[in-house]
């Protein structure tokens, strides 16, 4: 029955005619809807549960799908053959950076690149200027450095940070900077003094020379962007143990191989040439090895799949 309280005009009449012309959209099978709903609901609950337990899951990441907006701004025509300091990897698809290049990441995106002996990750809205394979200036935003060898120097208008073989983040705000250390140690040069920070420590430095120190968790929501910015992982030829080590290092947790079946599978070599996010790589590698995982605080417990 049509509702005579509706005020329709000719445009609405045309809509009515079009909708009637098209007819009802094809129905979807109810049993299919029910099955899919159950499966998707389970998947959603697992995702939520994992996020709640760990607080570090970057299921948001979708790194492979995210468009990374990077602008390289060449400062010079100065040097005819500028020093090549970075062969960018990961999300930057092989771009090459030269000394004095500025590097920007658009808001909402992330980027990662190989920088000397370190892997550098940049949060959205970050701008850096690369001076050499071991030195850069952070002009705004945040960088995360994963360096196996010491000596990287991050300069900011407020202070400078030198790593001692570590994982750390430097975030610059308008009148302060924050250094958070996940592994190893860094030295912050600020106000004529050196402040050391060990793993699990945050230094908060203001423009007037003040520095405060806090304890921090090595995983959690504040590190999510680091996981989002992780370079893609290729499984092919890597062992399960290598993949687990890479992912747990990114996420600030420790792997625990809880039973013999899990330990035996650790040396299994994996195949697959599709670049995956850390989360996808871990899931895929575990499933392929007949294993599963759960998180317990800062531990990733790996067990045989039942």
């Amino acid at each position: 029955m049509m509702d005579d309280t509706d005020n329709t005009n000719s445009s609405d009449d045309a809509i009515a005619a079009l909708v009637r012309l098209a007819g009802r959209r094809p129905p979807v099978p109810e049993d299919a809807a029910r099955r899919v709903r159950e499966a998707v609901h389970d998947e959603w609950m697992q995702t939520i549960s994992r996020r709640r337990r760990t607080r570090w899951i970057g299921s948001a990441s979708a790194v492979a799908a995210a468009a990374v907006m990077i602008v390289v701004l060449r400062m010079t025509p100065a040097a005819p053959t500028p020093q090549r300091v970075v062969v960018a990897g990961g999300q930057t698809n092989g771009a090459v950076i030269y000394a004095n290049d500025a590097y920007e990441v658009a808001n909402g995106n992330t980027a990662s690149l190989a920088w000397g002996n370190a892997i550098l990750r940049l949060d959205g809205g970050t701008r850096i200027r690369i001076a050499s394979p071991t030195e850069l200036s952070l002009e705004r935003g945040a960088v995360y450095v994963d360096s196996k060898h010491s000596g990287v120097l991050i300069r900011t208008p407020i202070g400078s940070v030198r790593d001692i073989g570590t994982q750390f983040e430097v975030r610059l705000a308008e009148d302060r900077m924050r250094v958070r250390v996940r592994e190893g140690r860094v030295d912050l040069q600020h106000g004529g003094a050196t402040h050391s920070a060990a793993a699990g420590t945050e230094l908060d430095a203001d423009a007037r020379g003040g520095v405060t120190e806090h304890s921090i968790a090595k995983n959690g929501a504040e590190w999510d962007w680091v996981v989002r910015a992780a370079p893609p992982i290729h499984l092919d030829g890597r062992t399960l143990a290598e993949v687990v080590a890479a992912v747990t290092r990114d996420e600030g947790v420790t792997a625990v191989w809880s039973d013999a079946a899990a330990r035996n599978a650790a040396s299994m070599r994996l195949h697959g040439d599709v670049p995956l996010t850390p989360e996808e790589a871990l899931d895929t590698a575990l499933v392929a090895s007949g294993l599963t995982s759960r998180t317990d605080g800062d531990r990733l417990i790996i067990t045989r799949r039942k």
Partner: protein, 199 residues
């Protein structure tokens, strides 16, 4: 770019809101299934598999949805990938389908809608019908359902309100918004001349 309102639905889901999950599934399963069907040769089992894989992948990655487009558009991107993967695994070639929403010439194909009956007129009428159904699927929330209930089932505003569990005034307002959204979407798809068409 302004955030799409679906961003809020996604944010609620990321926080674990059961109601949001229900809303997400009710709004997106059927359109996505209809999106997949012709692309998998109208094989309902395959469509079910790829839609399930799509939605499972989507809920895992929901926190990365930034609201730059409608959720359904985002889901369709995943779905296309799942369909490709399905055919790669099966070592089969996807069916050759010529879908309105896949070809840029859609407007040209519909140019002569409503013209005097010609051999291709019936086909074009079918294409128009499909376009209307696609637009209904792409409308936000339950707008497409509301328009079908109103114009195909002939439900009153009060009956639509009861189905949606909202007040009559809210249902009237929703229908107004649904008509406006349909008009805008169809105009965009049809090239701005739909109101001249004889339907």
């Amino acid at each position: 770019m302004a955030e799409h309102p679906d961003r809020f639905l996604a944010a609620r889901m990321v926080r674990g809101d059961e109601g949001a999950f229900g809303e997400f599934f009710e709004s997106h399963f059927a359109p996505l299934f209809r999106f997949a069907m012709p692309r998998v040769g109208n094989d309902a089992q395959v469509a079910e598999d790829v839609v399930q894989a799509t939605l499972c992948r989507a809920v895992r990655k929901l926190a990365s949805y930034r609201g730059e487009a409608a959720l359904l558009t985002w889901l369709c991107t995943f779905c296309r990938h799942e369909i490709s993967t399905h055919f790669e695994k099966a070592s089969r070639v996807p069916p050759m389908v010529d879908l309105l929403d896949d070809i840029p010439e859609v407007r040209a194909a519909l140019e002569s809608l409503g013209a005097a009956e010609r051999p291709e007129a019936a086909l074009r009428r079918n294409e128009t019908s499909r376009l209307v159904q696609l637009v209904l699927d792409r409308l936000p929330g339950r707008y497409g359902d509301a328009l079908e209930w109103k114009y195909i089932d002939g439900l009153s505003v009060a009956e639509i309100a009861a189905r949606l569990n909202i007040g009559v005034k809210a249902a009237e307002s929703m229908l107004t918004r649904a008509r406006a959204a349909f008009r805008d979407a169809f105009t965009a798809a049809y090239g701005g001349r739909w109101s001249e068409a004889e339907v």
